[in-house]
Subunit: 341 residues, 2 copies
Amino acid sequence: MPSERPRAVTINDVAALAGVSIATASKALNGRGQVRAETRDRVFAAARELSFQPNPLARSLVTGQTRTVGLLTSDSVGRFGIPVMLGAEDAFGSGETAVLLCDARGDAFREQHYLRTLLARRVDGLIVVGESTDPRPSISRDLSIPVVYAYAPSDDPEDVSFVPDDVAGSGDAVRHLIALGRRRIAHVTGPTHYTAARERAEGALGALKAAGLPLSGDRVVYGAWSQRWGRHAAEIVLNADPDVDAVFCGSDQIAAGLIEAARERGRRVPDDIAVVGYDNWEVLSEETRPPLTTMDMNLELLGRTAAQHLFAAIEGRATSGVHRMPCRLVIRDSAAPPTPR
Amino acid sequence: MPSERPRAVTINDVAALAGVSIATASKALNGRGQVRAETRDRVFAAARELSFQPNPLARSLVTGQTRTVGLLTSDSVGRFGIPVMLGAEDAFGSGETAVLLCDARGDAFREQHYLRTLLARRVDGLIVVGESTDPRPSISRDLSIPVVYAYAPSDDPEDVSFVPDDVAGSGDAVRHLIALGRRRIAHVTGPTHYTAARERAEGALGALKAAGLPLSGDRVVYGAWSQRWGRHAAEIVLNADPDVDAVFCGSDQIAAGLIEAARERGRRVPDDIAVVGYDNWEVLSEETRPPLTTMDMNLELLGRTAAQHLFAAIEGRATSGVHRMPCRLVIRDSAAPPTPR
DNA sequence: TACGTTTCCGAAAACCTTTTATTTTGCTTC
DNA sequence: GAAGCAAAATAAAAGGTTTTCGGAAACGTA
């Protein structure tokens, strides 16, 4: 047994020291009810002197609010959930709300277990962060606390979800290439069964169409999210259209592989081929040669925003629907306007 | 306001339904005290029928145990804290203990704030996970709850810390190269002011010395943790000793850069130069050409172990000192025994 | 003085569980 | 059938806070 704790100071002690009843002390400390300024000051002084910290358990027991939210990540070994999670944590942590972390590791059964645990602990709300932008099953059904979904939207449109706006982001990426004067733009991306891959293709094609430009190679080159695939895709793209002058990649991994392979085949980046990636995964995007122009999904901001909305919902101001958060192009050398010398 | 919650079912309801007093119901459910088997069954049946879940707040209020631990990460934007944190979460989450996540983001002031918050919430223990293996200030001083440190050890030897055994790991890495028949082994690593860099160099040099081999180039090549530095270091190493036949790198980023540059200078990996990395950061180690043999620090296991020890400490079985956890060599093609054809 | 208004304060209930101390029950023994 | 005893059940306290509601004090007015 750890040594006997030195019995924490309670509101009783504060009240006694201030010479008032505990009711008055409570009201003074919480700024509720009628209490004379002079009395309030006395109470505060006493609380400070004893360095009183109200016992949140007792408080929660009576108010029913725990000032705690559950953060349910479906699979955080992956890469995208982490920043979202940290953004959310940041938003809550700077306030009074604490975050209970639960990583279900992609296991629906474990998710159920955690959900029960969190409900038993009387959390005030729940934030569910996913690992891909594919919609995920809703858990909000007959839950009496608010839930928001981040990164992976809920499949129930009644719920509130925050996802990156991949369609707009990809449009921006392609428009950037067009603005740089590129006219033969290809698109290499991940597996077609990912919502992210499909939406990014949609945005890219939309921007090309709006500019009256064809897609180099005529078809979106779907494959995998890996660097290996990027290297392979470089050949496909170059064979399909030897005069291709830009490639928009669905991920930084793909872009890194593609740049490497293009370089080995003697194409200069960005002079011969401009390349834009997606994700701004800095270990890659800052280390390619040249460094990668890429789309940043602002995942921390996304998490933070989701957390703020959950907070609003807890206070009764609920929203609903899927909110698409803007992405931001990070311009590095692989696709940049000419720098004046 | 969210719709009125449908007043949760309490142990009173269970007791009433089972036709016993709440004291008996409590004892029956917790398996404490003397209660007839038949009565216990009745209580359990009632609890099940009402799907009773005890209110942990009320329970904690009386027992003083919250079944909650704080997870204080000093800077989780970095890469190494995350797996440790997830490992810890996993260890707790599978039990009854919940994890309060606090990310201090490398800010000592914020850390203090979180520490106060966690103590106010009466957590049963604290796990502090760092971002590098450099020792960090202890926070255990006159804290009445147990604390364990993971990845970054505490600077107070009285505390209990879990860190990767980089000295032994590096020794293994170099011995692996020696076993492959390499005799001119160089070591490229990060900045000298990192404990990790110094310890890995120490382990590497020790293994060389024990085998009676010199260090290729005569000196450890300290620099940065980046891929860029790896590329640059390749030149240094090759110039210092053109016949170098193996390089042990202090990180996968360095190794990736080094492999790339060596390849461009016409050296074949692993035939001419075998390369071993450190970290097993899979986005790099699986994507280099050839895939990278590298040292995995088992960070999740480390986090899990730390969590288990915290648990033990909470139950009164405390340990102390710095525990060095073994690393594990992941053999891929960049330094592998010849495969039989 | 009697009375109505404010303004401030405090007693006590409520939140839900565990635990201690006490009472009741059921059984054995003489 | 009473006494004694162990086993089983319960009443009540404790844990720390918020909140309701009634009461006291202070003050002004008739």
